[in-house]
Amino acid sequence: MAEKTIYEHLKDEGVSRREFMKFCGLLAGLMGVEFSPPVKALAAVKAPDPAQAVATALKSKPKLPIIWLELQDCAGCTEAISRSWSPSLVNLVLNKIALDYQETLMAAAGFQAEEAKKQTMKKYHGKYVLVVEGSPTIGEDGIYCTIGGRSNMELLKEAAEGAAAIIATGNCAAFGGIPKANPNPTMAKGVWEVITDKPVLNIPGCPAIPEVTTGTIVYFLVMGKLPQMDSLNRPMTFYGHTIHDHCLRRPFYDAGKFADSFDDDGALAGHCLYKLGCKGPTTYNACSSLKWYQGLSFPVQSNHPCLACSEPNFWDGGGFYQGQSAPLNRPDVAAFGIAAGAGAALGLAMAGANAVNKKRAEHKSKSEE
């Protein structure tokens, strides 16, 4: 018997056709399918229907297995996903379409869970998507993070070997995140730094926006390839703009109206949080456009500056409440004293040498007279 398609799976779960089409439309919009090359090509022939493109793919393609590894992480990205637009979008994609192995969410545990993973990897070799949450650690042969007695590097390499695509979700998996913060005792790294023989798509954020993770997985499902990426391997659809570009406080920035503290009149009036350390201008993410919790809000809207949690090295990128223009390293009094003292000493020495030369010259000219 042929393998069930995704649509058939959803129908079995009680999803009506109307709900299915709404779901497809939502996913198409989220992924920016309209702007993807295949749909653009279709647009040259006839008017494209992005929702229909998604629906066609979901009706014809079998269930996509996903193996979700957790390495050095706090499970925050999983927590975010479990509290997102549930039960509509993410729940449908991850629970009903795809997720086969997820340590936090799955009922199985111990050897049973490991066996399930092994079976999935064997059955879908070369077809499954590997999602990694948390940073791999290479210090002491990966001993700082072991699961079932095996090092994280061993597990990661094993899972990556048979994966059709690798998605690193959250800042830890993408860029090393908090575990990589100075002095980085475990030698944490981003997945793409240790898996170099396959493209790794990064979905950074602390946590990653669940709809971005889901949208990217569905893009792979529909298009059969990873979406267009930027220089840091982030999907352009979601990381093409900065927080600042779409920020609802942007007009205040342009007008030069800032909050100087968290409780002044500017803060109450919703003015720009740049002076309070907002890193929005250099942070690429979809928070200010997609927002969180069904579009309810995002940090800047909730009166807190952007921390740049989706950027590399964000934990070492200066104080969270320090202005973005402020230098990352500034001389302390001792360094200031040493520089000033050295400069003054050199100046004095040169002035002394000049004085000696002057006296010598005067003496010489007198003796010549």
Binding site: K275, G323, P331, G347
Partner: protein
Amino acid sequence: MAWDEFLRFLRGPMFYAAILFFLGGMFFRLARVTFLGWQRDRVPSKGSKIGGVFITYLKGILILPFIPWVRMTFNKNALTYIAGGFFHLSLFAIIFFGAPHMLVWKSILGFGWPTLPAPYIDWFAAIGIVSLIALLINRLVHPVLKKITRTADWFNWTIVFLPFVTGYVMSRHLWFEYQVAFSLHMIAVDLLLIWIPLSRISHFMLYFFSRTIHGAQFGKRAVTP
């Protein structure tokens, strides 16, 4: 190297090195100029040295700039005087009253102060850029200036011009990604900090030094040692 990494380098170790070089260099210049022909003042004052200093600053900064026609400098070189004046005014406003710059001071000094709205700073930047271009054209066409301009002077102009332009591009979000524009601005600023002690731009500090000395000499109303 990604722009993000590059920017971190420019805002971090590079800025640190540049500011220490700037501090050391300025103390070097100050020590050297102080002891260059330093002599004990053996002639008693007939007037007040401090009064002389006070008057010279009052006249030089608060009075004469607003009645420039009484000065020969203005009458003979009006463009240099006006463009130079606007340039210095805009530079002062941007460095001390632009919000991003105040935050730099705050991180170094530990305290901040109120700032001007961004559109005002943008206008000051535009005035500064136009003034600098006017001064450059003047230098290119003026028969005497052309003859006395050396390579270092062109370099001075460029090094001062770049932070203005890159800062304006960054704050108006023109042409480049913000990180790229920020990096370009930081390159320009780090270069400026390093170049100041090595060049005539060090007049930003030595001006006050020489004005104080001359003011004190005028106020003394007696022969100089």
